[in-house]
Subunit: 255 residues, 2 copies
Amino acid sequence: KTEIFAVSNQKGGVGKTTTTVNLATALSTLNKKILIIDLDPQGNATVSFGQKRVMGKLSSYGVITGQGQAQEAIVATMVPNLYLLPASQELLGVDLELAGVQNPQFYLKKSLEQLIDFDYIFIDCPPAVGMLTLNALVAATQVIIPIQCEYLALEGVADLMKTINRIKQNFNPQLNIQGVVLTMYDARFNLAKSIQNDVRSFFGDLVFKTIIPRNVRIPEAPSHGKPVMLYDFKSIGAQSYIHLAAELLQRQQGE
Amino acid sequence: KTEIFAVSNQKGGVGKTTTTVNLATALSTLNKKILIIDLDPQGNATVSFGQKRVMGKLSSYGVITGQGQAQEAIVATMVPNLYLLPASQELLGVDLELAGVQNPQFYLKKSLEQLIDFDYIFIDCPPAVGMLTLNALVAATQVIIPIQCEYLALEGVADLMKTINRIKQNFNPQLNIQGVVLTMYDARFNLAKSIQNDVRSFFGDLVFKTIIPRNVRIPEAPSHGKPVMLYDFKSIGAQSYIHLAAELLQRQQGE
Ligand SMILES: Nc1ncnc2c1ncn2[C@@H]1O[C@H](COP(=O)(O)OP(=O)(O)OP(=O)(O)O)[C@@H](O)[C@H]1O
Ligand SMILES: Nc1ncnc2c1ncn2[C@@H]1O[C@H](COP(=O)(O)OP(=O)(O)OP(=O)(O)O)[C@@H](O)[C@H]1O
Ligand SMILES: [Mg+2]
Ligand SMILES: [Mg+2]
């Protein structure tokens, strides 16, 4: 059974793409066959693998709007076992295009039903609660919520939980929260410790023990078109995503 | 004539709210009467002044959907000359609610026509190109584009320019780009210098000379419900927004 993770948080710049790319890469080295679906119109996950957003060919846009099968659009990455369904700029138009159809929120779920030979699928969501994120939450079996350790990032968390619960009640009863990942943790920052405490008191054991520290090698990696594990394996950024992958696997096996 | 600035970039977490709050605060101390309109459903600009998102009363949501006049929803802040049109969670629903009406992109512009006694209005946009941002770009006379000095933040810039040009051609011929603000500049980061060069070669003189450095006092300030100028006036974060305000004023007066 394929596990589908939606990586989502409507707050911008909290590490959704970074977590999708690097967690999936770390898991693929533990012998899991993985697909990343880039649902962000900016295509940051696609670019993180050194690829360009698709033009004129089938992309995640074509798959979500039912114009083609996912298998036709999937490409390999430089990481063995790790595949990508790349984004295109046309994703910008999905909100308006699906506004008029019946049950628009099920489009992605339907097109992923054919994909049975992946262990895990990760969906990188844009920073909004529009049709793209709704489709991801309806198609997913699990949600991973990156939360940046900064004050402004706390405000929208309760909203996100309401959205997830609404989706679970109305469209996707099997949807669970796999976990909350604390990102860009900077121990020099007075607030980081108290924000971590706030998040743990709100989410309890859902918060992964592994914390991703702020690490300058992480934003450098995409400019080389590689996940941070390939760019600088020894860096604290790469190592923390490897630990996170091991922790996720434990949770998966424990269930 | 009131100048209306839309602070916009669909990339998440690049400093839109931080620039709106702190640039407006700095300008208000230079004897300008200023209004901040919070169009982000998370209400980060509202929270940055120590206020809560509005529930059950008129907010920016009610104003954009034509349920009430802006004057009724405007509140004072702790900064003299600086007022706020606070956000509410209901903003999340605007995309779907305005999807069925005629000319939805003009709703905000219409409701701001009555506001004549402000020198400047700043609109903090969410990280998306939906109905909220479209309304802001149609109502605005100028756009301010914060760009984070990181590789992934460059990808969406050309898209943003296309969106702005489309709005200018179809709905708002007077819309100009006031400037591009480089944010979270970290001189220790190898890439920052080359990203700055990329942005300057793409935008030329539109890029403000003042660069906002990464400064830990900036993310601390909202947890105290204050703009960084009031939280730590001497910090490099506060000082750089003061310089930016002076530079903006020069551009305004030079025009
Ligand atoms: N642990 C980290 N340390 C340092 N920089 C980081 C870290 N995680 C992410 N970044 C950088 O912060 C920026 C924002 O991260 P990212 O793009 O992954 O967030 P996002 O939530 O996907 O953003 P968006 O909301 O635009 O989709 C990127 O430039 C990324 O390289
Ligand atoms: N110059 C800076 N130095 C350090 N931290 C900063 C700086 N500017 C902004 N930040 C912090 O980075 C985070 C993102 O900034 P901000 O929320 O202003 O971005 P945004 O573009 O408004 O995000 P969103 O896309 O979610 O609306 C916040 O926690 C903010 O406090
Ligand atoms: Mg992203
Ligand atoms: Mg913001």
